[in-house]
Subunit: 335 residues, 4 copies
């Protein structure tokens, strides 16, 4: 059995991770941390785990956690996560980090978008961006996986193969994303107060969302030249799911069939990505680690529509997929 721990186990991604790990035949959950006083049982924080997992939340130092875990999942917020991950790595455990701390390869870009200097610059280099569909072999060799953001996964999966194949222009890409409210985390706020966001759809952080440089970086890597997307996220009155509608310009006369063929071939052997004919709905991927992608050419523009569950393929499912790769297990275990 592989011993796993979760840092910051009170949020939604941690809850979803626990649901998946409870089904994982090779996993023993040893430690769950939180700064809450009094070591409450996990069931008091996540009532849905009541009677299904008997563990108390403990306020342990990262090095202590590492002693009891072969793999540590960090669900801490950015900044705090780097501080903890540094110590966990030093103590010898592998890490899957849910935060943004190790996703950006350039610490200056990180500092500019996150508003504070990176506190573990040394470990950025060894971090692998945890999108198995692009970086599987590197993940297998990694000690530190930067689990991708939910929006970036929904944008990168449809775009990367087309950019790699040179079939769309890198310069005119628009990503219009629609996300459920769980993406905003578990801390109540005005914008996530039910009577505010229910029965409403809103754009937010247009052009300013922190997932923008992450999308740009990975697509630039795929394209082999600079990609800079316009990213406009929207809040949708539902718990889970992201649907991204992506507009790009085909290059070299690529037709709808050409483009679809490239996507189908690229993902032919992938267990979790499907190129579908009908326009998808997020409900088709609800609760699963799947990403569905459809493609249309309209008036000379490519329109890609992708969807996934932000808490599964967009977070905890991807983390388990990465964990399976890190430990040489079948990639689909528990997924």
């Amino acid at each position: 059995m592989i011993r796993v721990a979760i840092l910051g186990a009170t949020g939604y991604t941690a809850l979803e991770l626990l649901r998946l790990l409870l089904r994982h035949p090779e996993v023993e959950i040893t430690v769950l941390t939180s700064r809450q006083e009094g070591a409450p049982p996990i069931g008091s924080v996540h009532p849905s785990l009541s009677g299904r997992l008997e563990r108390n939340l403990r306020n342990l130092a990262p090095a202590e956690v590492a002693e009891q875990a072969d793999c540590v999942f960090s669900c801490l917020p950015h900044g705090a996560s780097a501080d903890a991950v540094r110590e966990v790595l030093a103590a010898g455990s592998k890490v899957v980090d849910f935060s943004a701390d190790y996703r950006l390869t350039d610490a200056q870009v990180y500092a500019a978008w996150y508003g504070h200097p990176h506190t573990d610059v040394e470990n950025i280099e060894q971090a692998v961006y945890g999108l198995p569909e692009l970086y599987r072999e590197r993940i297998k060799q990694a000690r530190l996986v930067a689990n991708p953001g939910c929006y970036p996964t929904s944008a990168i999966l449809p775009l990367a193969p087309l950019l790699r194949a040179g079939l769309i222009e890198p310069g005119e890409i628009i990503v219009d994303s629609k996300s459920g409210v769980s993406g905003a985390g578990r801390t109540p706020s005005d914008t996530t107060h039910f009577p505010e966001c229910n029965e409403s759809v809103a754009a937010y952080n247009v052009g300013k969302h922190r997932h923008t440089p992450e999308i740009d970086q990975v697509l630039t890597d795929a394209a082999g030249r600079e990609v800079s997307v316009i990213f406009a996220p929207h809040l949708i009155p539902m718990d889970r799911g992201i649907l991204s509608t992506i507009y790009a310009r085909p290059s070299r006369g690529a037709t709808e069939n050409d483009l679809r063929a490239v996507l189908r071939e690229f993902y032919a052997a992938e267990p979790f990505v499907r190129i579908v004919d009908d326009l998808p709905a997020t409900k088709h991927t609800l609760g699963s680690n799947s990403c569905h992608i459809a493609l249309r050419v309209v008036k000379g523009r490519v329109v890609l529509v992708s969807c996934l569950d932000n808490l599964v393929k967009g977070a905890s499912g991807a983390a388990v997929q990465n964990f399976n790769l890190l430990f040489g297990l079948p990639e689909t275990t528990a997924l």
Copy 2:
């Protein structure tokens, strides 16, 4: 024009009240108060009023407000409201109070349920419970109207006529109520955080909700003997609406037809209460000042189903109805 002011204009009941008052041909909105700094325009707090009402939120003393208003609507929380209302009354304005402060006739009961002594005991006596269907003539003469709670209105309207007629037993009444989330107010909390309450229904405060003594008091008055209900509220994933399912025991052999006939007669001339044949849905009353009531007898038990919009007939619509009565206007104006 009648000059009106609103104390505590940042919440949902105040917003709904403003929407109604903007349609009222006899009303001039003079003052809106809040403790917010810097006198922000109302449109910055309620974007839906942007461009429809040019007023700034001001932090004025109640007596100052009273100078500029013939009628003051207090949307302040309980406790704070009594402190302000006392001063407004002393300055000579009429008051419609949305809080619970003047609903209970017994200050001891108030203290027991609300956890602090009443701070304006002297004015309790002159307050009239603002349910026009029961107390219309007294409201017309009042200077202080205690606007009813949303749950109590949904429970009292179906039960009072039957208790008054002696056709149901006062001792075995159960009120199972289902409310939208706006009833919890505008302050974010764990229970109103979208991913917590969406896609979920929960019971809360069973047997402990503060609307219980209010229901008991008004029904006792209707019955002429003590009524003490079991009240179980539930939170429903919708913005607005209350549906109360009420179980009682018929007395004196009353049949379904007898009971329905009493309700129909009682409400025959009422503009806002309808006795309907089909079981109602809260959407039938969404946005209107209506209360729909249906009745069934099942296995010897009366089942009443009532519904209303908690922000209209359950709060701001009732307040406007009371305002119209206070100032001798047609009762349905703006409703």
Copy 3:
């Protein structure tokens, strides 16, 4: 009093229209039609109107309706509407048509997108597109108003002033729209079945939606040269509201401030259009005839975000606004 009738009074736009007309001081509702048997009372089809409007649904010929109405609102489906409107016009009443039948000036384009020939080509020419912000003076003189589609209104209001001013390129416009489910009408279907569309967001009819030629036509008129947008609608799990996120390319070096200034000036005197600073949410316009518009420039691209209530400014509110213009009443009456 102006006598008004509604053809096809059982749907959602008719219900919303009735709610507004019931508040209209100059209106007498004389006839409501439907093909339902037995002349049921309107309250049996729309329970929310129970006790508020005493009219029965009647299966009358258009000419009979016209005899009892100075203005006829047609809420019939496309095709059926033209057949009825032709007769109503011949009988001398004015018409506000909710269908698409008189929106497109070219009967060939109509036939291509709607799949059947137009059956009242003669009257197309006299029809005025019912967007008062663009065509107010023509509406005042009209006998037949083609009430705009909900999506087109959300796309045209932000774009038309900028195209007219030549500040955005006509050739690269993307309209990504998000709509509540009431836009799909009242007939149940798989896609509007609650467990299918709740907790889900989906793209549909990308590049194929029938509102596309309507948007193109009106924007072409505004720009003075051909505009052809890429239109991608999405279904959002909410009752009402449309939010359109629009991507365009500024021309002639126009800055964010330039573009915003043009919008502010264009709409300075308009009662129902607001240029707002913060990114809007559909809830800000829920239940009102308002359209809120915000603007950003991101990486050299204009991003416009507009929102409105699809049943009010996107349908019935616009119809009342047009009605007021047709009959020389203050434009905001009942709105």
Copy 4:
């Protein structure tokens, strides 16, 4: 591997069953039936299964299905199910029947509530009501399991132990249930049309719901004397979940502690039933096979609140639990 088939695989309970069976290590899914033409792949009917299960829907006779399955799950509607189950049993397969056809032990009661005579009266006797918490040993020996209704499970689990212990009166039980819309099945209708049931709560079939005799029968068995409940179901705007609030009268002076102790003891060893302290929300059981139960005594009345996921513990999870018992597997496998 145990070969399983599903009759009527296009509905929501079949989809949920397939999701669970795909995780089941001892199961091979051999046949999925439907009356649809052309043997479409299951992924075209349930897009969420696209790429996860390669089976086509086939229109096979029950006897043919039985040849390829050790266990047949019937998700057919009542009436149709009995016709098929009879043949499947005759062919030697075991059956878990989701319909109501074998739940009621009295064919006369069945005929009265379901409006047609029972067509397989002979097999009623051998059917076991599939609630393992009450009938585990009998289920293990059965060939035909009548999978319980969703509402009955939510009512029976909290009540049966208390009735069995004689601690509540059998004669005054009220069950006020709140259900998500998936309980209404996959066929669109007026009441499940999104704009009708969203943002609304409604009571329906009060005193007339077909689950009433099922609840009465099982509780009568538990109490050892006749139980006849008042059952009032409500439709809640959410996909999944049932919360039942149950009102009963304690007998023999039973206190809150007495009653809770009986429940805790009865369910101490049960893997899927938890007696919780705080009032539960359906979200606590979303997607799991759990039932959470809380208890209060209010003004001398017991108030029980139970919740579960209607598609899991209320249908497909219970079916897998029963399947595990039928085939001697650990009861929690795949759950």
